[in-house]
């Protein structure tokens, strides 16, 4: 069963909708038309490129190229995590903490799914590996970015309170415990909520895609369940890792809060 192929004309009509919307935005002086058109163009170019890359990967299934692609995805996600921080960690740790925590959680979870649950041969078959990794990594990135941003902001805002707790002889773990727990919750709540809403409020994108592609709905649902669990686990463990490593980095061996490790992002107040 093949999906109906879309022609250039079909896509152009859809694009015309965005053009229409940008005209309305101009009329209403929303000031969004430029970003809207730029975003549309970016999306077209990026997706066409990734389509070509996937076409190439699927044809060859060379593990080195797949590893390369995964690495690029990871590094872009790490850059995105850092870009979303109001107060970033100074220097190299600012990059590698995000990278490491997403690598540990997303890659481990995806590897487990490919080898144990899906059992595709070889396990790195790109038709499975790349979409799985993409979905897990994308969600982990959102969670890690949200939680880390909250952590650095909270430690900065509540430095007086944290220092007071240290003065009373608490360890850094005790003094930052409430803040760390709150940030972990912040990072995990979105995925928990989306599990609760799945199927009723929203039909998840992957399942919709599979159904369009002709997969029987029950099979598509099983894949969706699997991926939801993977995303929840990947996000959860990624958030825990990044919060632990970031807070560890913001206190020194003498249990001092080292806010000089944080820099305010350029361009933000």
């Amino acid at each position: 069963m093949n999906v109906i192929s879309l022609s250039v004309l079909d896509l152009s009509i859809a694009a015309a909708l965005l053009l229409l919307l940008s005209l309305v935005s101009l009329r209403l002086s929303l000031g969004l038309e430029k970003r809207m058109l730029l975003g549309g163009v970016r999306m077209i170019v990026q997706l066409l490129l990734v389509g070509q890359v996937l076409h190439f990967l699927f044809a060859d299934a060379n593990p080195w190229w797949i590893a390369c692609m995964s690495l690029v995805m990871l590094l872009v996600a790490a850059r995105e995590v850092r870009a979303r921080q109001q107060r970033q960690l100074r220097g190299v740790p600012g990059y590698w903490i995000g990278t490491a925590s997403m690598f540990v959680s997303s890659f481990a979870v995806t590897f487990l799914a490919l080898t144990v649950m899906v059992q595709v041969h070889p396990w790195y078959t790109p038709q499975y590996a790349i979409p799985f990794l993409g979905m897990v990594l994308g969600n982990t990135m959102t969670g890690v970015a949200l939680a880390t941003d909250r952590l650095t902001a909270k430690l900065y805002e509540q430095r007086g309170m944290v220092e007071q707790r240290l003065l009373l002889g608490q360890t850094w773990q005790e003094a930052s415990g409430d803040i760390r727990r709150e940030c972990m919750r912040t990072g995990m709540v979105p995925i928990i909520n989306s599990m609760a809403a799945a199927g009723i409020v929203s039909l998840p994108g992957m399942m919709t895609g599979q159904i369009l592609g002709g997969t029987p709905p029950v099979e598509a649902v099983k894949y969706q369940i699997l991926i939801m669990f993977l995303i929840a686990a990947g996000t959860g463990f990624g958030v825990i890792c990044s919060i632990w490593m970031t807070s560890r980095h913001l206190f020194d061996s003498r249990h001092r809060l080292c806010l000089d490790q944080l820099i305010l992002r350029r361009g933000s107040a």
Partner: protein
Amino acid sequence: MKAQPSVSTCPDQASTPLLVVDALSFLENGPYSFSAGAGECVGLSGQSGVGKSQLLKAIVDVIPHAGEVYLGGVACAGIPAPEWRRQVALVPAESYWWYDTVEQHFPDAGHRFLSGGWLEQFGFPPDVISWQVSRLSTGERQRLALLRALVHEPRVLLLDEPTSGLDPVYTARFENIVSEYQGQGGIALVWVTHDREQLQRVATRAYLVGKKELLPSRDGGVKTS
């Protein structure tokens, strides 16, 4: 970076004062050296912004510094930082409270200091411990912050402008409670204040804090240890 080669103990433990601050420097300040023996109260005064509060923070090792501080001959670097801060306690000028009730901030709400006369002297009913922090005034927080530090029974107590928000009656009671605590024996005090009269009342020795050094001041020394 240490000002001196790191030694874990001072040479002669028996005759060394309880608290020894040895060439302590931080940022553009110092090196400062002074000592406070058991039963003594060292008063510190000086211009605003000269770094008095930072000096106290360096002594409790909550900011980076060079130089070393010794408690009973044992170097700060040789003791885990949380343990050091329980024995050398700092009551900062502004106290922070992060839980809902007063009680949650005390490690041991049944401590004898909380059942004795000190709460009463400070004008609190016995049930203050169950009060909401949000209903406390600045002065009430300042008084409770002292008791919160004391329940750890520190051997050295560092006070940073502790009575700045208190009226004369409670200032006198505050000084009295600190003196009663010190009367238990084996305790050294470092008291930072702008108030010259207070310095004369409480300090056995006083220094004027400068950017680079401590100058002996005539304000202390009225009280004898």
